[in-house]
Amino acid sequence: MTFITANWNPLGEAFYRKSELYEMCWNLRDGLRDCLVAAAPYGGPIALLREPVRRSPSSRPQLEIYSASGVSIASFPWKSGPVVHLGWTVSDELLCIQEDGSVLIYDLFGSFKRHFSMGQEVVQSQVLEAKVFHSPYGTGVAIVTGSSRFIMATNIDDLKLRRLPEVPGLQGKPSCWVVLNQDRQTKVLLSTGSELYILDNTSCTAVSLPGLAPQGGSIVHMSVSFSYKYLAVLTDSGHLWTGPSHLQDKMSEVDTKKLTPPKQMVWCRRPKSQQPSVVLMWDRLLMVVGVCQDTIQFPTEDQCVLVGEMDGVRIISSTNQELLQEVPLVCQEIFKIASMAPGALLLEAHREYEKSSQKADEYLREIKEQSMLGEAVSQCIEAAGHEYDPNTQKSLMRAASFGKCFLTDFSPGQFVTTCRELRVLNSVRESSVGLPLTHTQFKQMTLQVLIDRLVYRQFYPLAIEMCRYLKIPDYQGVSRVLKHWASCKVQQKDLSDEAIARAMCAKVGDSPGVSYSDIAAKAYECGRTELAIKLLDFEARSGEQVPLLLKMKRSQLALSKAVESGDTDLVYTVVTYLKNEMNRGDFFMTLRNQPVALSLYRQFCKLQEQETLKDLYNQDDDHKELANYYVTASYREKRLESRLSLLQSAVDEYNKAKNEFSAKATEEEMRLLRFQRKLDDEKGAGLLELSLQATMEALLALGLYKQAEQLYRDFRVPDKRYWWLKLKSLAEKEEWDELEKFSKSKKSPIGYLAFVEVCMKSNNKYEAKKYVSKVTPEQRVKAHLAISDLDGAADAAIERKNDSEIATVLSRCSAADRLLIERLNRASTAKK
């Protein structure tokens, strides 16, 4: 434990440490010499393209992909054109930028995914240099061409090529250049040696470094920090200028006293860095130059590659990999020799406690006296997060746990989370997995992305284990992993459809959020239609199955799935598809097996294709609907004859449907129409299309009593209705004699009160009176009242000895009818 500071080197007021991450698993015969190397940040994969000693068509270079720990993932001979630059995207895809400007994209396992070009002009002028960069928009590519033009794509997934303005006086490639990300804009900062320019979308601006000593000389190397906030510039006189990348300020200028340009130059900082630095690498020397002018020098034996991280620099050599970083403040406080920080004391206290020494109590007391125990616990937890060695982590966590016992209201959240995260980190740092993430990087990257990365590397069991351990909701965790696993599984050509489907069902089961239709689509893409159908069967959302089924030409199945989904629109979609695809007979047969689809299609036809509707009914022998169809259709006809012929068809169908009533009603309508047409022709009566009742009414109004009578008899109109009709019609025409004659024609089926009321409606009291006497006794009071004959009403009411009738009459009496009122009252009381 005491040796924990052994690899610490002071730089200014801070310390830098270089700790070993891995002994590399790879076995490189020629080291990293003469290689194009690309190593992704966040412990990403490493790609190597070894240049053959002599370029000849027979000896192809080998492209090799390794995990960060050097485990070989893929290796294949490079068959395309000469590569200028290699780089990794944020989703672990390898970009190979070729001399002719085409960019080939491979996945982690070396399988080709797609390619794009940096523009036609590049084919001619060739790529001189290229850089891959990351921004909030994704992964970008910038190149400089043989004609000294910069071309840039800020996001390769949404490719938009931007040709940057010309740089004045630039011949060939610039002496050095970097891509900057400022104010949501991507720019290029380049140096032609003596001059410095910023290139953005529209302009090329000459800039200068504030405070760079005049004897500085021309610029040979530039480096921008991980966050794009800081810039380091090295001149040919060995002066290193550092400052913010907006070039308004200067942080420091250090003379490295080295005149040869370094192989690589990378910023080394961390969030809340006390002492940022720039790491320069020469053939046998690694120099850490602090902004504070201090330097640390490490000798190196081998060719190395520096990988800038957000909180340090990884140094990859052919034998091992180290992490160079500024020691985090909290670790400094705990482990610095003779530190009195609360965390340091707590660690010490715990160490004594383990030795069963009473000194533990003294240390604890000291912390408690300053009421710093909470702080101490937090420090230990935080420091544990920053430590790479599991033993150190453990001792810090144990100390924290020990300290926690003496606190009553310390929230366990931080402790528990850190424990969990450390377990996750330790497991991915394993050499076999090879993701050397620091805690800071992990936090920045987020768990989601980490799971994605594991999935890209096909560490499915580990990813699932992790999701379960961290209790991530299935939808974001396990299901997502399973989804990837499944789409990878369907591509395994060596397994039978059956086996895959079975495995799929067993593993994925009912996991929420896994879309079987997506997996099936993948299977279909790989040409495994049968498998796709098998998989679709597992899909719960029938709606999702439909588009793919249609695509695979399983239209019948698609239809039943669409019906199952209950989505009307989906059913219509499939139906329309089927209609175009099948001949009519088959189409109808298919629909017949799907009643829901059929009825929906009927609705569609009702609105859009009346003719088809008829065929449908015909096929089903649905005579009733067919009859209804003919009735509806008959109204669309412009000529009476055609309407009649359609109605005749309706009659036939109604008869077939054994619906006698409707058949008869239709026949009657036809008779009526003919009758109307005849009368219209003869008398110009304008009867056509009137209802029977209205026809009779019109006839009566025209005085065509005979014809009305004829209809009444022919159509067996109920007496009551006919009497009402005639009564009203005659009263309206004030044909009082005719009315009287009519009333006497036979006993009125509607009684005679109706006559009284209708006459009164025409204000003919005289006529009304004629009928009062004929009214039945029950209605007599009402009849007398109708003609305002109070006396008569009173007589009738008293005669009938009916209380409510007496009351009705009373209510109609006014004060003037005193005598009548008395009489009525008497009658009423007499009864009681």
Binding site: P473, D474, Y475, S479, D510, P512, G513, A540, R541, G566, D567, T568, D569, L570, Y572, T573, T576, V596, S599, Q603, F604, L607, Q608, K624, N628, V631, T632, S634, Y635, R636, E637, K638, R639, L640, R643, F661, S662, A665, T666, E668, E669, L672, L688, E689, L690, S691, L692, Q693, A694, F715, V717, P718, K720, R721, W724, L725, I750
Partner: protein
């Protein structure tokens, strides 16, 4: 302005807010000035979600009604079509777009489908060759429109006519009860969706304890009867559409002294009706016979409040009085409005025709002479009363008699065809298909059994101070609501036999909830049930459910959702088919 939505146990205003937010988001997608072309049917429902002012804030400058031909000219950058996914509308849009392109070319077109985007419609637009002209094609999911603090409607007019659509609010419900074929269908679909979406949705604390799905076809009777609550009568007589009613203007003329009443307003008076209006909330669900008393009581309170000013002595008291003035004045004008409406309705309810009609309805409901030709119906036909009135009565008789005898049935049908015209044969066929009219097949009539077991007829209905839901129809207790009531207590097991008599299956499903989501109920807190009427619900039924919510010992609160708010007239109308004659 939509505060009344949030008064209830379940805050329905969030639904409205969500709908507004979505609308704003869509409008902002189309940058620049815009004109909206409306499918006329949608303006009503949208009025409940967003006023013109909201649209205006998002640069909507003009509004047109969708019709064929050329679009009216408007100096705007965007033309947005708000339409239902109907093929015939697509043809109109295509026509609009075609005639437009010749004149301008700088205007952008957008379509917003309400409530669902439809591939079929897009296909049609593609066939017409205009699909590419649209910059945005989007859907606006307006399923359940909040009408009031406890009322949601899909305003899907033909829901009863067509088969029912799905509803995907699965996470809201806890236990599902249901009765009816369609209810079963919907429930199946919901359970499947629940499985499909499991995990993808955030786990939401269920708002409702129970969901009750009721098919309209288990209770065909209730909407046919004339509603006798205040709100029900307004709807029966004047028709409430989207929360608004249009009334004849005469009664609402400003009667000022000295002014001659010559210039009566000719345009009908439009009033918004919802529980935001205190007085309306109080009287809407009362039996109309109790409304007069309530209004006069209110009148006294208001005038007493105005009298207060004489008692106000100190400045403080006067100030307090003045501060209450706006509220009091609003109350007074609301009182004046409702007094006028009540007078209008009273004129009708006291008429002989109304009385006779009601008498016949009640005879049917109590099972008097339902197997004979009814003379009142006969007379009404002879007098050529409105056909819908006849159909309502006929259907009622049929429902109460478990179908009509062949002789009676055919007599009625003949009378209708002869009097109103042969074309109504289609409507009659439709009503038969919907079982509203049917031929008595067995001699057994179930209705009396159902009526007796479920106590659908209460002889002594108390209209003033109701003690049973039967007050809403002055005697008849709506079957649908009675089922709801029995479900809450003592449970459906007690009426197993009757349920078997009603059409369709009945069922119960219990949704599994993660343990953490079980609600911890406070002592005395009521349980909430969402009653979903598939195929429509009447205002009287809503009143009856509200009455149940308010009953002290019910222990249950009801939120009502439906496919459509209806009454007998609108319902029958939706089932009618009337071909237009082409003979010239």
């Amino acid at each position: 302005m939509a505060a009344h939505l949030s008064y209830g146990r379940v805050n329905l205003n969030i639904l409205r807010e969500a709908a507004r937010k979505e609308l704003r988001e869509f409008l902002d997608k189309c940058a620049g000035s815009k004109a909206i072309v409306w499918d006329e049917y949608l303006t009503g429902p949208f009025g409940l979600i967003a006023q013109y002012s909201l649209l205006k804030e998002h640069e909507v400058e003009k509004m047109f009604t969708l019709k064929s031909g050329k679009l009216p000219s408007a100096d705007v950058k965007n033309i947005i079509f708000f339409v239902r996914p109907r093929l015939e509308l697509m043809d109109i849009i295509a026509e609009n777009v075609f005639s437009e392109d010749k004149m301008h070319s700088s205007r952008d077109f957008h379509i917003l489908f309400v409530p669902r985007r439809s591939m079929l419609c897009e296909q049609r637009l593609k066939e017409q060759g205009v699909l590419a002209s649209f910059v945005n094609i989007d859907e606006y999911i307006l399923d359940l429109i909040p009408y009031d603090g406890d009322l949601l409607s899909m305003e899907y007019e033909s829901a009863f006519r067509e088969c029912y659509l799905e509803n995907d609010q699965t996470s809201l419900y806890h236990t599902i009860y249901g009765k009816g074929d369609c209810a079963r269908h919907v429930a199946n679909m919901m359970l499947r969706m629940k499985r499909e979406f499991a995990g993808s949705q955030n786990q939401i604390l269920p708002v409702f304890d129970t969901l009750l799905l009721l098919d309209r076809n288990i209770d065909l009777l209730t909407p046919l009867a004339t509603q006798l609550t205040y709100e029900g009568l307004i709807d029966e007589i004047y028709g409430i559409t989207n929360g608004y009613v249009k009334l004849p203007p005469e009664k609402f003329a400003q009667k000022k002294q000295g002014e001659a009443s010559k210039d009566l307003p000719t345009e009908s008076k439009k009033l918004q009706l919802n529980s935001a209006e205190e007085l309306y909330a109080e009287i809407r669900d009362k039996n109309f016979n109790a409304v007069g008393a309530a209004l006069s009581k209110k009148a006294k309170i208001i005038s007493a409040a105005f009298e207060e000013r004489h008692n106000a002595k100190t400045v403080g008291e006067i100030k307090q009085f003045v501060s209450q003035l706006p509220h009091m004045q609003a109350a007074r004008s609301s009182l004046a409005n409702h007094t006028s409406i009540a007078e209008l309705i009273k004129d009708i309810t006291t008429s002989e025709a109304f009385f006779e009609n009601l008498t016949v309805e009640q005879e049917f409901m109590t099972g008097v002479d339902t197997d004979k030709v009814n003379t009142y119906i006969e007379d009404c036909i002879a007098q050529k009363d409105p056909l819908i009135k006849i159909l309502r009565l006929m259907c009622m008789q049929s429902v109460c008699n478990n179908g009509l005898k062949q002789k009676v049935f055919e007599y009625y049908k003949r009378e209708i065809l002869q009097t109103y015209g042969y074309e109504h044969i289609l409507t009659l066929n439709n009503l038969e298909k919907a079982s509203l009219l049917k031929l008595q097949t067995s001699s057994r009539n179930n209705y009396p059994t159902i009526r007796k077991t479920l106590k659908l007829w209460m002889e002594d209905a108390n209209e003033q101070n109701p003690n049973d839901i039967s007050y809403v129809y002055s005697g008849y207790a709506p079957l649908s609501v009675r089922l709801t009531q029995v479900l809450a207590r003592p449970g459906w097991r007690s009426i197993e036999e009757v349920l078997k008599l009603l059409p369709g299956p009945h069922f119960e499903e219990r949704q599994q909830l993660p343990a953490g989501l079980h609600k911890k109920r406070q002592q005395g807190e009521n349980r909430t049930t969402l009653v979903f009427f598939l195929g429509g619900v009447s205002y009287a039924e809503i009143a009856a459910l509200r009455f149940l919510s308010q009953m002290e010992d019910s222990g249950m609160e009801y939120i009502i959702a439906t496919t459509k708010l209806l009454n007998g007239t609108t319902w029958i109308k939706s089932l009618m088919d009337r071909p237009e004659s082409q003979i010239s």
